[in-house]
């Protein structure tokens, strides 16, 4: 699984929320890698820590959240150790962020053009004409008439706003684009259209993408690799195709069985019994053990590491070397 040219290499990253009741570990020792040009999807239920993980990687956490330990190697440098001033140089230029709701992520009192200009001028001393030219270029790239550079966010439709955000994210053709559920706020048709557009842009520009979502079917069509998160930990990570055909972790299996497929024989839908744990006092041993249909005695006391299998990494004792 180790790619020789990995753009992003996250190692044992942990994020804590400092609450009045103590530190809540929202992300627990997560490790993952993204190769150049690869599309990695991160899926999980609400509250599993996927968005927190994303913002930790992008160094965009705000109090009370903070990185407790671990490293995030981006292009060879550990982002966790970089100060704000150093970070500012690589922000947007080398990696950019696309957020869930463009209506909230765009400054309501500035035109799209002004916000693009801001991003450009923060990193480059381009003459005004070139700024203009580049802005128009990225707008056309995502299929928006450059006329809309003069528009305010509230004057655009939802789909257009989202695409404007993507245009902004690509203005410096970064190597990594981090996306936090960018399609959740759209209807199905717009969702598919946006995803196709993102894939097309990826093909043309060649950026790596980390895409967080709770929508399994969407991510199954578009991602190369998939990471499944549960209770702040990555429980399985591997090629998307393999995960759908042969899910290994009981949780992943449960997910796959939770939604119907259009083709094939009618199946009974099976959910996953129980509810996600309280992260202030997580279960001992394997965090999934209270809900696991294949639970064993050692699962209650021993937290499984990420076992290496030929086509996936699985955090489950069922796949231990001596199983």
């Amino acid at each position: 699984m180790i790619a020789t040219a990995s753009v992003l290499d996250v190692r044992n990253l942990s994020v804590d929320y400092m609450t009045s009741r103590g530190a809540v570990r929202a992300v627990d020792s997560v490790s993952l890698e993204v190769a150049k040009g690869e599309f990695l999807g991160i899926v999980g239920e609400s509250g599993c820590g996927k968005s927190t993980l994303l913002f930790a990687i992008a160094r965009l956490l705000s109090p009370p959240a903070e990185i407790a330990s671990g490293s995030v190697l981006f292009k060879g440098r550990d982002m966790v150790t970089l100060g704000e001033t150093e970070l500012r140089h690589i922000r947007w230029h080398d990696y950019s962020v696309v957020m869930q709701s463009a209506m909230n992520a765009l400054n309501p009192v500035m035109t799209i053009g002004a916000q693009l200009k801001d991003a450009i001028e923060a990193h480059d001393n381009m003459p005004a004409q070139r700024v203009r030219a580049r802005s128009e270029e990225v707008m056309r790239l995502v299929g928006i008439d450059p006329l809309h550079l003069k528009s305010y966010p509230h004057q655009l439709s939802g789909g257009m706003r989202q695409r404007a955000m993507i245009a902004m994210a690509l203005v410096f053709t970064p190597e990594l684009v981090i996306m936090d559920e960018p399609t959740s706020a759209l209807d199905v048709v717009a969702q598919r259209s946006l995803m196709l557009q993102i894939k097309e842009l990826q093909r043309r520009i060649g950026f790596a993408a980390v895409f967080v979502t709770h929508d399994m079917s969407l991510v199954s069509h578009f991602s190369d690799r998939l990471a499944v998160m549960y209770a702040g930990q990555v429980v399985e990570i591997g090629a998307t195709r393999m995960m759908f055909e042969d899910p290994k972790h009981p949780y992943t299996k449960g997910l796959m069985q939770s939604f119907p497929s259009i083709s094939g024989p009618k199946q009974r839908l099976v959910g996953i019994a129980g509810s996600p744990p309280d992260l202030l006092r997580p279960p001992s041993g394997c965090r999934f053990h209270p809900r696991c249909p294949s639970v064993m005695t050692r699962c209650l006391t021993e937290e499984p590491p990420l076992y290496v299998r030929p086509d996936a990494l699985v955090k489950c004792h069922l796949y231990s070397d001596d199983a």
Binding site: F55, A58, L60, S62, P63, E84, L87, R88, H89, I90, R91, W92, H93, S96, V97, M99, Q100, S101, N104, A105, L106, N107, P108, V109, M110, D118, A119, A122, H123, Y152, H154, Q155, M168
Partner: protein, 327 residues
Amino acid sequence: MSYLVRRLEFFAITLWAALTINFILPRVMPGNPGQAMLVRFHGRVSPQAIKTIEAAFGVRSDQSLVQQYFQYLGNTLRGDLGVSLTFFPNTVGDVIKQGLLWTIGLVGMATIIAFLLGTLLGMLSAWWRGGIFDALLPPVFIVISSFPYFLLALLALLLFSITLDWFPLGFAYDLNSSINLSWSFVGEVAWHGFLPALTIVITSIGGWILTMRNTMITTLAEDYVKMARAKGLSPLRIMLTYAGRNAILPNLTGFAMSLGFVISGAILVEIVFNYPGVGFMLLQAVNSEDFALMQALFLLITVAVLVAVLAADILTAWLDPRTRDTA
């Protein structure tokens, strides 16, 4: 545009409300203020002035209420507000013109300074969250802003004018000087006006700081601020253009709405310092039962507040493109 039209509509309606209140009050209150005034004016004023008072206060019974109302409205809008008892034989119009200048100078400037400074401090306090600034500020300013204006004025008077003798006891300028545009006169005015202005700034700034801090905190949690950080923009730019410019919008509306309270406090400050503005004049009018002057001052102050509100609305429309598009 429709936003501004609605605000102008509001302006007109409130103005009408103030005029109507002026009209109704002397007629529902016990006693007959109009009659009382006429007795004191008897034989000393022009017939025109008598007519004005009658229409405003409803003394003559041969005119119907509606007729009186329109007479009163007409007079007022033409600027015919009657004759002042306190400053006899000057007309009310002349008298309030004088006071207006002083009040706008003192109160206007002090309020604007307090608003701008308070907004800036509130913004910084939210930006540097968790620091000493933020921990000290709220309790200190909550207490200060609940302090009655006039009390602070009295304290200032006691400490700086009486005990330390650093500043004069009141009024706008030295009683021996005459009004002119020389530097020494301007200096005098500044010296006399310093304590009153300081009082107004200190008591009102707390409110601006606190509300700006609160809106700024909410704004800083917004996604577009996170985006601005993600884009690598400089902290100053984020604070001002992304957070500040959005956070100040509700504050502007709040500024407009609370202007009425600010003016009230300023009036009391004028009274304590015997500053010859419209507030002090209002007190004099009340004490000498000069109802015509009193009414006119009430109207004037209301109009001043309305104009300020309209100005704040225009500013909001300019700063927030969303308001221009809403119906």
